[in-house]
């Protein structure tokens, strides 16, 4: 089984009189690892938000293919009140179960959560206050929630920002493993070397699509 294809068709977005996206059209093939690059303010995160259904836009965004699990999403950063008494396990429970998080979790949910935290190298942090984690540790927790359960579509918004070198390698290995399983991955990425190394296809966005193709083709036109 493969993840869905993503089709952006003539997507335009205007926020407070400023045009953020202008007739953006491209397709992310099913089961590919696709990187979205471009300058700050170029509209990458806004485009992802249109995909999440969070932004009113013109044009259409659609998924083609079967989607049997919730999509996984790792935001750029989680602005979190450090004083809220919420542990890592609580945050994972909020994101991953139907039962109200304050009523605890089932044994199965706990096992799934522990496996995901272990996979991202933060197994020992389940009982720690989420607000006390460093930026890099938070990103690992956010990555853990995104792969629990394993999604067929994974959206990453600069997940390696603020993560140390071992963390970056871990993220790359995890993404590679999911990609091998057929998961479609859309990754907003500023690390051009990393994009060249891991991506199957690339779209460069600066309000409009200025390039869409393979990393090798992109190297030639840069």
């Amino acid at each position: 089984m493969r993840g869905p294809a993503i089709v952006f068709d003539n997507v335009s977005l205007q926020l407070g009189g400023t045009r953020v996206l202008d007739a953006v059209s491209f397709r992310v093939e099913a089961g590919t690892l696709h990187c979205l690059v471009g300058p700050n303010g170029g509209g990458k995160t806004s485009l992802v938000r249109t995909l999440l259904g969070q932004m009113p836009h013109s044009g259409s965004v659609r998924l083609e293919g079967e989607i049997t699990t919730p999509l996984g999403y790792v935001p750029q950063l989680l602005d979190f009140d450090r004083n809220v008494p919420m542990t890592v396990n609580d945050v994972m429970a909020l994101l991953g179960q139907r039962r109200p998080a304050f009523l605890g979790s089932s044994r199965a949910a706990k096992a799934l959560r522990a496996a995901a935290l272990a996979r991202t190298g933060v197994a020992a942090m389940g009982a720690k206050p989420f607000g006390s984690l460093s930026g890099g540790q938070r990103q690992r927790v956010l990555l853990a929630q995104a792969i629990s359960p394993v999604p067929w579509l994974l959206i990453l918004d600069e997940p390696t920002a603020g993560i140390d070198e071992p963390g970056v390698r871990l993220v790359e290995a995890l993404v590679a493993e999911l990609h091998d399983r057929g998961v479609t991955i859309l990754w907003i990425n500023h690390d051009l070397e990393q994009v060249r190394r891991i991506a199957q296809s690339v779209t460069v966005i600066n309000q409009r699509v200025s390039f869409h193709g393979s990393p090798a083709q992109w190297e030639n036109v840069r």
């Binding site: 969070q54 999509l71 450090r82 004083n83 809220v84 008494p85 109200p100 304050f102 009523l103």
Partner: protein, 301 residues
């Protein structure tokens, strides 16, 4: 439901008559109020902890003030001045939803907008209540503002029971989504949460609970009981389950002690005031515990 209330009341009164329970249990209105307290505690504890995390303290205050306007409108249109629920629910829901609608369509900071609505609701409530004050007994106004266990009847208990059922049936299944929507809307969207809908729903639940608790706690103080137990619980909690459980316990304890203590010790204070004072004392105690206990000093970072 009335038969159930009578059944509970008769048994408790019998126990009080034999000396097993304290003397205030001999009075029907005390038992009515305590039955309400048993519902109000968990309601306010669960909802209050979420209000605190979502930073909506002033929102619930403005809804409480709007309830005063609701009472005044009820008196003006000829509703029963002891239970003008149609006007209170109607006006408060209209007020809260208008506030939320405006919040989604303005660039003003949340606290500024809520401050504006708070002032409007206070001004309207005070003006209209003074306008209708000639038509009603001063004690009715007092009970609206500060709560009164003498005024609690079966209608109030039924209203509270229905609101509790609505909160349990709608609020609990959507609890995670409502909390997640305020922590990170994008993540919530990704998890299939309809962020705007649960935002409105939360506002509706806070409004329903605020109005349903009005008879016991009063319009001025209902917001305090929504916040103080949650704030006290936060002082001594490291996790979400601990926060909510302790907020529920503190809210229930405050309600029960706030109702019984003035009766037992013949202290002439309104119920709402007594309940909030008990909650405030618990808050002081938890603050001291937090300041002096190493384990809790790290409860928040």
């Amino acid at each position: 439901m009335n038969a159930l209330y009578d059944f509970i009341r008769e048994h408790l009164q019998a126990l009080a008559a034999t000396g097993v329970l304290p003397q205030p249990f001999e009075y029907e209105f005390v038992i009515n109020a305590l039955l309400c307290a048993v519902l109000i505690g968990p309601l306010l504890g669960v909802l209050g902890s979420m209000v605190m995390i979502k930073r909506m303290a002033f929102f619930s205050q403005s809804v409480g003030n709007a309830a005063m306007t609701g009472v005044a409108i009820g008196v003006l249109i000829g509703e029963s001045y002891t239970s003008p629920y149609f006007s209170m629910f109607g006006f408060c829901l209209l007020f809260a939803l208008t506030l939320k609608y405006t919040q989604h369509r303005t660039t003003l900071a949340n606290d500024t907008l809520i401050g504006v609505f708070l002032s409007i609701s206070l001004a309207m409530g005070a003006s209209l209540l003074l306008f209708v004050s000639a038509k009603i007994n001063t004690h009715v106004m007092e009970s609206v503002l500060f709560g009164s266990i003498l005024a609690v009847d079966h209608t109030d208990m039924n209203v509270l029971l229905v609101v509790t059922a609505i909160c349990a049936l709608i609020g609990l299944p959507l609890y995670n989504g409502m909390l997640l929507a305020s922590l990170n809307p994008s993540l919530a969207h990704a998890r299939g949460v309809r962020v705007r809908s649960v935002d409105y729903l939360f506002v509706v639940l806070v409004t329903l609970v605020t109005v349903a608790c009005l008879k016991i706690i009063g319009a001025v103080l209902v917001e305090a009981l929504l916040l103080i137990p949650a704030a006290a619980a936060r002082n001594i909690s490291h996790s979400l389950p601990a926060l909510v459980t302790r907020a529920v316990l503190i809210a229930t304890f405050s309600c029960v002690v706030g109702i019984l203590a003035p009766m037992q010790f013949h202290i002439p204070v309104p119920t709402g005031g007594a309940i909030v004072i008990v909650a405030a004392l618990v808050f002081v105690v938890t603050t001291v515990i937090r300041a002096t206990t190493a384990r809790f000093r790290g409860a928040s970072v």
